[in-house]
Amino acid sequence: MAPVVEMRGLTKQFGRFTALDNLNLRLDGGKCVGFLGPNGAGKTTTLKLLTDMIFPTAGECFINGISVQDRRREALSDAGVLIESPEIYPSLTPNEALGMVADLRGVAPADRAGRIRTVLAEVKMTEWADQKVGRFSKGMKQRINIASALVHDPEVVILDEPSTGLDPRGMAEVRSIVRDLKKSRRLIFMSSHILSEVVDVCDEVALVNKGKLLFYDTLENVTTRFAADGHASVDVSLARPVDLGPVSQKVAGLSGVRSCTPLDAKRLRVQFDGGAENQERLLEALVGLRIGVIGMTESESALEEVYLSQVSRGD
């Protein structure tokens, strides 16, 4: 059965402040869903409700069909959770901290040591396995936190800004871990401030602002459907540096292309009439120009434009 996370009529009030207002969201299947929103939008509140760290004013959350509010032990048994960059008991070593998680989660003794080794290797902390966590930097602790969310090989992974505190290499490694998790058909629900991270690893995005869900759709649909005038942006990578002036002119002259802007000597940003078919035609045309196209990715700026336009609409 495919993993499922569902929130029904989820509302959370802190006094008179409504942090989350009647959120209805169902995520199912193996994929990565990015959860976006400005500070105070309700992202972490949602994830805390989903993991029973706080209690809803109204509504309910389900993981694989089990109510988190009524049966938290069962609901969280197949979920890996990382919320708010937690601290680990400082006297424990990563081996012990992950051992505690494995024991409390009931990982079979035969699998325990192997899983701990595997996840420590995944987060590049093997050589620190027997050092006390209290001596670690924030980034190192966050790696152990990520490892603790994965030690039981969960079907559902809930991550609250997992790149927090990590250096660029660490952030890249987190993206790599999430991509690997997707290969195993897990459902990953990840809040993030970093749009490039979302574009890189997420298949779908949900945007929340002021406690309300603004949209939930595939990344592609979001960037086309919500763009100001229906256009989409892609970043085109070239094999070698080219004279970008004439190349930009050529690309701008292609059918459906609205503009073409050089990003650097080997990259262009192309705005075109959105949609999968138009994107396919654009790629064919770009290859036909023989300018050394080696890659085309959804532009981070496209999501950024949507994000900013949708968020500012609510302000």
């Binding site: 760290m53 890996g80 008991y89 012990e96 409390l104």
Partner: protein, 286 residues
């Protein structure tokens, strides 16, 4: 990842029942305590108290004041063991229980635990048991120091059975103090309040309250735990009241019966543990 196939989980899981989870958590929490500075600090404090007692007794052992204590085993243990045990119990409760629950919020370690398939009761009970075991270890360390002195001055044949009864009463008192400490710790998200409240109340707050109730209100102070805790030293000597009713001298100063004291201390434990657990169950990790 180690997944064998998209649909087959690679890791065999069987989430333990809540009570085994509490015991597992106790083991890791105890490991955390044993490696902590506070554990070393408390050992140092108890060793210092023991060293002072040993030095004072050694220096003044010929004096008239100490003569009666060093020739009467009931008086010796009633004075040196029972007198210090209460302080050791409060210190241990403050050191191991003062931030047990509040620290989960203040230090954000709770976020590490709360994502796990655990009942909050398992966390509360596991941490309580860890604090209890660590505190009992401290109490036994103090007992060992007193026993060392007692055996030296009185000999091994002078070990009164009442010392065993007193140790049991001290452990019951410890559980009651820890129950209250955990309650205070669960009321606040800042550890300092739990430390201060426990220390003030149990070192002199309850004693003052008891005296006020006895002296001014003139009723039996059965509701105050210091009245019950006096049983730790009350088992020594002759004419011990083992019953369920307290006795009073002139209708003012009351002495608890031993069975009554046990009931009062267990009552404190049950009530404070229930309220503290209820509070923790309803506290949000905002």
């Amino acid at each position: 990842m180690a997944a064998e196939s998209p649909t087959t989980p690679a890791v065999r899981l069987r989430v333990p029942e809540p009570l085994p989870q509490a015991f597992k958590l106790m083991g890791y929490q105890l490991r955390e305590y044993l490696r902590s500075r506070r554990f070393i600090a408390l050992i140092a404090i108890i060793a210092t108290i023991g060293a002072l007692i040993t030095a004072v007794v050694a220096y003044y052992h010929d004096s008239v004041a100490l003569h009666s204590l060093l020739t009467d085993n009931q008086a010796f243990y009633g004075s040196f063991w029972a007198g210090g045990a209460g302080v050791v119990i409060v210190l241990a409760a403050v050191f191991f229980g003062g931030d047990a629950i509040a620290g989960e919020f203040q230090n954000k370690t709770g976020y590490f635990l709360m994502g796990l398939p655990l009942r909050r009761a398992s966390v509360y009970i596991g941490k309580f048991l860890a604090a209890f075991v660590a505190s009992v270890a401290m109490l036994l360390l103090y007992l060992a120091i007193i026993l060392g002195n007692g055996v030296y001055y009185l000999g091994t044949n002078a070990l009164p059975w009442e010392l065993g009864a007193s140790l049991v009463l001290a452990i019951v008192y410890l559980s009651a103090v820890l129950g209250a400490t955990f309650l205070f710790s669960s009321l606040f998200k800042t550890s300092a309040y739990g430390f201060v409240l426990t220390a003030i109340l149990f070192l002199f707050g309850f004693t003052i309250l008891q005296e006020l109730i006895e002296g001014l209100v003139r009723i039996q102070p059965w509701m105050v735990i210091s009245y019950a805790s006096s049983a730790v030293g009350g088992v020594f000597g002759t004419g011990v009241n083992w019953g369920l009713n307290g006795t009073s001298a002139g209708g003012i100063f009351w002495t608890a019966g031993i069975a009554e004291a046990v009931l009062i201390m267990l009552g404190y434990l049950v009530v404070t543990a229930a309220v503290g657990l209820w509070r923790f169950e309803h506290e949000e990790f905002t």
